[in-house]
């Protein structure tokens, strides 16, 4: 139904998220770092981005900035992080309309959040 981009340097996370999202009927594209993710976005648009915070080359914040500069607030972004300073991160990224989600997480709950984000953004999109 929706096309989702997953960017994380941890292959296991990418793998497990792909399995769960695929099972819930989403199409998934994956990237191992921020730079790859941005390159993929250039090639084909997606409905939602799930990005890790700490990644080589371009990190989560870099991805958020680049996406917001290019396509504005249209794409919902979910940032996963295992960092301690999640409150600060929320402040920093909240301005970009980004949802920060803590690691470790349960895939089932994450799927619910993703569906919510997709639903909300769909509503917003239909308003004008």
């Amino acid at each position: 139904m929706a096309k989702i981009l997953i960017a994380d340097d941890d292959a296991h996370i990418v793998r497990v998220l792909s399995m769960w999202l695929g099972r819930h009927g989403h199409q998934v594209v994956t990237a191992r770092n921020g730079e790859d993710a941005l390159a993929m976005l250039d090639r084909a648009p997606v409905d939602l981005i799930i990005s890790d915070m700490n990644m080589p080359v371009v990190d989560g914040v870099g991805v958020v900035r680049a996406v917001r500069e290019k396509v504005g607030a249209a794409i919902p972004i979910l940032v996963l992080t295992a960092r301690c300073d999640q409150d600060r991160l929320n402040e920093r990224l909240g301005a970009y309309g980004v949802r920060v989600y803590p690691k470790p997480f349960l895939p089932s709950q994450l799927v619910v959040v993703i569906n919510q984000l997709l639903g909300v953004s769909a509503c917003e999109g239909s308003l004008p």
Binding site: N54, L106, S108
Partner: protein, 654 residues
């Protein structure tokens, strides 16, 4: 009139003795001297009068003798009369006299005054008889005898006997004239009333003496009143002579009622105040002097030896004292400091910030607020930026409320350590959460029942197993750091086969290496003796160094693990062609919780304990780790492990 009375009362009540005292003394002195002179003059006059009395008596006697010596009959002889008259006139011409005459009974038979001759006097004045037949009387003024006269006179009467020649005739004549009354010479002289004037003088003298005594009494009373205060002061001084320095206040006179003691009390208070001011000033000067004494002063030397910067700002907003640490920190020259004021001072970055702080703390009243602040200065790079804690402490001294002391402490080390610890905790949390995330996600994948593909299930188990191992190794690492920290790490020494140690290590990281397509080569000599050591700990060393090599080498890189055996030691080398480490950071990367500062390192996960742990373990084995690396030119870590068993054994026992 009222004023006069008032000043008189003041005089009597001794209020204004000082003014009156001199006047009184001068008056008393003049009166005394005057009266003495007066007395002397009257005495002298009296003596003169007495002497004149004697002289006049003698002159009268001589005159009588001369008259007696005139030959002839006084009754009928004209010659006798003229001779007598001449003698009387001569006398009158030489001696001031009122009348000089010869009497026969009441008849004047001859006189210096020719008009008188032949007259009759009204009566005889009888007087006191003196030796030689003289008769003397004092005639008071305004008697009938001396009409119009207001002066005292003296009458001297000398009897005249008939001359020796005419004795016979006389006797004959007496026979003829038996009733002839006796003749006498009578002289009236002006005279000072000797006796009576003396009495007046004495009375006057007595009065003067009484007056002087009275005046002296008044002056004495006044002085006594006045001197009562003075004697009190003298008493106090006497009492406090020994402890005058201890307590100036005890010199004060409690029941001070008159002006002298009140003035004394004011004086004592003033002295107290002055003394206090002097003491404060002295203390202040002493402090300044001690502080300013450069080089020689022990206090100054001690303050200069302090690691903390110390600044003493005087109430004139001058830098009264700046120790050498402060000069160094603020970039000041110790010589220039003395001429600087707060408003014109300059400094380096920290100096400017500090001056701003001090200026901000200065209040319009002229004193300072207490402040405690943290200032940062130095290179903009986070690691080299120094942190300083600054205390501004106003000195609470009366009158010198404008002074303060500023203490500057370099807390960079502490801040850096705190920051490193915080970062470590954040990193450790992150590191622990990463395998936990996988374990949790894959566990739910298994338990959800949504994925029944056996391949997926196997994959899930594998990931869980691997991540669990990673987690436990991480916990081990953290534990070993804390053990290394408290020095309680124990080496279980045994023979360690280096070949298996290295190949097992490579096997553990193979997965990571494959992910980045990094090639790992192991180059070993043909024959390799086992070394003495703790295999598990050495495995940690190998794992940490290999893990770093893979982590900081970009995809498709190379890692070469080698081993050279020498007589004394074995050297294990871990060579990569990764990002390398800048020379300036070679020492730092081995420090606990410290990692390279470049973004390539910071973006990788890591706790900053791997190299620290590795080197500590190697050092416990008596060896060390060396680093050969340059930025962007790869890194080579060389682990030197000595063969000597004794050291390892000694370490075990230790």
């Amino acid at each position: 009139m009222g004023d006069l009375w008032k000043s008189f009362r003041r005089f009597l009540t001794a209020e204004e003795v000082p003014r009156w005292f001199g006047l009184s003394v001068v008056l008393i002195y003049l009166v005394g001297m005057g009266s003495i002179a007066q007395f002397g003059i009257s005495q002298a006059r009296r003596e003169t009068a007495i002497r004149f009395q004697g002289d006049s008596q003698y002159a009268v006697k001589l005159l009588a003798d001369r008259i007696e010596a005139i030959e002839g009959d006084p009754a009928a002889d004209r010659e006798w009369l003229s001779a007598c008259q001449r003698a009387l006139r001569e006398f009158a011409a030489n001696v001031p006299s009122r009348s000089v005459r010869v009497l026969e009974g009441l008849n004047v038979i001859a006189s210096a005054n020719p008009m008188e001759t032949g007259t009759t006097i009204e009566g005889r004045i009888s007087g006191a008889s003196l030796a030689g037949g003289l008769e003397v009387a004092t005639i008071p003024p305004a008697t009938s005898q001396a009409s119009g006269s207001d002066a005292w006179h003296r009458l001297i009467r000398a009897p005249l006997n008939p001359g020796t020649e005419g004795m016979g005739e006389e006797s004959a004549a007496s026979e003829v004239l038996p009733a002839s009354p006796p003749r006498c010479l009578e002289v009236v002289l002006p005279l000072e009333p000797v006796e009576s004037t003396s009495l007046v003088d004495q009375a006057r003298l007595l009065a003067i003496i009484l007056a002087v005594l009275g005046a002296l009494f008044v002056v004495y009373r006044c002085l006594r009143e006045q001197l009562r205060g003075v004697s009190k002061i003298a008493n106090r001084l006497e009492l406090h002579r020994d402890r005058i320095e201890d307590d100036l206040a005890s010199l004060r006179i409690g029941d001070s009622l008159d002006s002298v003691t009140a003035g004394w009390n004011e004086l004592v208070e003033l002295t107290e105040r002055l003394l206090a001011t002097v003491q404060r000033t002295e203390a202040n000067e002493e402090l300044s002097r001690v502080l300013q004494r450069s080089g020689g002063g022990a206090l100054s030397e001690a303050l200069n030896a302090l690691p903390d910067g110390l600044i003493y700002i005087s109430d004139e907003v001058r830098f009264e004292y700046v120790n050498s640490a402060a000069c160094r920190l603020l970039g000041w020259n110790a010589q220039d400091v003395k001429t600087m004021t707060l408003s014109d001072a300059q400094g380096n970055e920290l100096g400017q910030k500090l001056l701003e702080l001090i200026r901000g703390a200065a209040r319009p009243e002229g004193d300072f607020e207490a402040r405690t602040e943290v200032l940062e200065a130095g290179d903009d790079q986070a690691q080299d930026r120094s942190t300083y804690r600054v205390w501004l402490i106003p000195l609470q001294r009366a009158r010198h409320h404008g002074e303060c002391v500023v203490v500057i402490r370099d807390v960079s080390q502490q801040v850096r350590a705190d920051r490193a610890r915080e970062e470590f905790i954040a990193q450790v949390t992150h590191e622990l959460r990463t395998p936990l995330t996988n374990i949790r996600a894959y566990t739910e994948t298994l338990s959800s029942g949504m994925f029944e593909d056996p391949k997926v299930i196997t994959e899930c188990y594998n990931v869980i197993t691997k991540e669990t191992r990673r987690l436990s190794r991480l916990v081990e690492d953290i534990l070993s750091v804390s053990q290394l920290e408290v020095g309680s790490i124990e080496l279980h020494v045994d023979g360690v086969d280096l070949k298996s140690l290295l190949s097992d290590g490579i096997r553990d990281v193979r997965g990571l290496a494959d992910e980045k397509n990094i090639d790992i080569q192991l180059v070993l000599p043909a024959k390799l003796e086992p070394i003495r050591g703790d295999r598990d700990k050495l495995a940690v060393v190998v794992n940490n160094l290999l893990g770093n090599a893979i982590k900081y080498t970009s995809a498709n890189g190379n890692v070469v693990v080698g081993c050279q055996a020498a007589a004394e030691e074995v050297v294990l080398t871990f060579k990569d062609n990764g990002i390398g480490i800048d020379l300036s950071e070679h020492a730092r990367v081995f420090e606990k919780f410290q990692r390279g500062s470049n973004p390539e390192v910071q973006n990788e996960s890591g706790t900053g304990i791997g190299l620290y742990t590795a080197r500590e373990i190697v050092r416990r084995h008596g060896g060390d780790i060396e680093l050969l690396s340059e930025k962007n030119k790869g890194s080579t870590f060389m682990v030197r492990l000595p063969h000597r068993e004794s050291r390892a054994a000694a370490l075990t026992s230790a």
